[in-house]
């Protein structure tokens, strides 16, 4: 443990304390039932901290064994994170069946495209492959969350707390991780220590946001919105779109410079 700086050690300790606090809140405030994937993700991060502590204490921070354990556990944490994001999407849009059916494919597609692009466009070095994969996954996570929130805004679906805080935390942390991983790729040797610390500070900040969000009991589940008959959509929406198209054409009539229509 001696090769870790005092700042890293204290950040590590603080993070572990806040993780435990958040888990306690999730359990005691009965949020585990509503957010099982998110709770599992927080539990996994805590378990990862514990395993890394044991590994670094046993083999040292710079050992290959610690590196392997670190990245193996990171794979599990990232998987849990992906499930937490999926759960978030389901909570926000799941009650609106039509929107959800459309959004889930767009969200999946958006995540897949960003992930593939990030991995393909990365500078490949054998030691940085996990970093590259992580960068891609984090960027995909951030893109999915942003797309999800844009969907919610477009359809006037209000994202209530704690979902709002969970979304902000996951997205901001993903963005910080992307920047962190990108800098690490370029300046590996000089940046390792700062990379650890900045990642930990960002995660700690997100944990504090989540602790604040989950300090209350889980809100009473609301009734699903009463859906309309499918004929309403089929009759009204094409008509609205037609009118909007006509309105756009009318708006063009204002412009004197418009080319004459054939």
């Amino acid at each position: 443990m001696n090769d870790l700086g005092p700042l890293t050690k204290s950040l590590w300790a603080m993070t572990a304390i806040v993780q435990v606090l958040l888990l306690c809140l999730l359990v005691t405030r009965r949020n585990v039932k509503s957010y099982p994937a998110f709770s599992a993700y927080i539990f996994m991060t805590l378990a990862q901290s514990g395993l890394l502590f044991v590994a670094i204490k046993g083999w040292g921070f710079s050992s290959t064994m610690s590196w392997r354990i670190g990245w193996a556990t990171q794979c599990l944490v990232l998987t849990a994170r992906a499930f937490a994001v999926a759960e978030l999407c389901l909570h926000i849009l799941g009650r609106f069946r039509g929107v959800w059916l459309l959004a889930r494919w767009i969200l999946l597609g958006c995540g897949a495209v960003v992930l593939v692009y990030a991995v393909v466009a990365a500078n490949h070095q054998w030691r940085l492959i996990p970093n590259t994969a992580e960068l891609g996954l984090e960027m995909a996570t951030a893109a999915v969350i942003v797309t999800l929130l844009l969907f919610a805004r477009y359809y006037d679906i209000v994202v209530v707390s704690p979902l709002r805080s969970v979304a902000i935390g996951l997205c901001v942390y993903s963005c910080v991780s992307v920047v962190n991983d990108a800098i690490l790729e370029r300046w590996l040797s000089r940046y390792v220590s700062l990379w650890n610390e900045s990642g930990m500070v960002a995660f700690l900040a997100c944990l504090l946001v989540w602790v604040w969000a989950f300090r209350r009991f889980a809100p009473q589940p609301t009734a699903d919105p009463l859906l309309l008959d499918r004929s309403v959509y089929l009759h009204i929406i094409p008509e609205v779109n037609w009118r909007l198209r006509a309105l756009n054409e009318q708006l063009m009539q204002f412009w004197r410079l418009e080319a004459p229509r054939t």
């Binding site: 926000i92 009650r95 609106f96 069946r97 039509g98 929107v99 059916l101 459309l102 466009a121 990365a122 960068l135 951030a142 893109a143 969350i145 942003v146 929130l149 844009l150 805004r153 477009y154 006037d156 679906i157 209000v158 994202v159 209530v160 979304a167 902000i168 997205c171 901001v172 963005c175 992307v178 920047v179 990108a182 800098i183 589940p221 609301t222 009734a223 919105p225 009463l226 859906l227 309309l228 499918r230 309403v232 959509y233 009204i236 929406i237 094409p238 008509e239 609205v240 779109n241 009118r243 909007l244 198209r245 006509a246 309105l247 756009n248 009318q250 708006l251 204002f254 412009w255 004197r256």
Partner: protein, 191 residues
């Protein structure tokens, strides 16, 4: 991957995140699209078209230009421009309200068609862009004011066609509210 690209992508994602989260258009604890907006009267500004047309009358303006002093003509021109801008802004408000209704219908539908949704999104973006252009043209004095009539007509017709849908939505909203209230009173878990 270039650092500039990554930083730009992250900055864009963060900007979009905060834009998406900033002041929601409708506050509603249930998280559902607001059904109150459906019950609002929508034929507001478009129905003032007759008055606006009178204010924009070309004959009146020509008469004033021929008989009145230059100062008065300038003042009248400015007033007409101001009225046109206000009217255009109000028409846009009507348009936005109708668009919101379409979104509520989509959100409360068990199935939606991607083609219709993308088309509406594309049209909304195009409308916003053109609206800005028209606004710019009006400020610059490049556009013909009487052509507001076409826009008004379209909005008015759209409002009329939407009324039946709004009525049904309003009835369903009342039923949904009553159901939710009954379930809350009984303390049932409906998730």
């Amino acid at each position: 991957m270039s650092m500039i690209f990554i930083f730009s992508a992250v900055a864009a994602l963060l900007a979009l995140l905060f834009w998406a989260l900033r002041g929601p258009r409708q506050k509603n604890h249930a998280g559902a699209p607001s059904l109150e907006s459906i019950q609002e009267p929508v034929r507001q500004h478009a129905t003032y078209f007759g008055v606006i047309r009178q204010a924009m009358s070309e004959e009146d303006f020509e008469f004033l230009a021929a008989r009145g002093p230059v100062r008065l003509v300038r003042r009248a021109h400015k007033e007409r421009q101001r009225i046109a801008l206000l009217y255009l802004a109000d028409l846009r408000a009507d348009f936005e309200r109708l668009l919101r209704l379409a979104r509520v219908i989509a959100a409360l539908s068990p199935e939606i068609a991607a083609s219709h949704e993308f088309e509406r999104l594309r049209l909304s973006i195009r409308f916003s862009w053109r609206y800005q252009m028209v606004l710019l043209g009006l400020y610059a004095g490049l556009l013909l004011l009487p052509q507001l009539s076409g826009l008004s007509q379209i909005v008015s017709e759209l409002a009329f066609r939407m009324e039946s849908a709004m009525k049904e939505l309003g009835e369903r909203a009342a039923v949904a509210a009553e159901l939710a209230s009954t379930l809350n009173r009984r303390g049932l878990d409906v998730a």
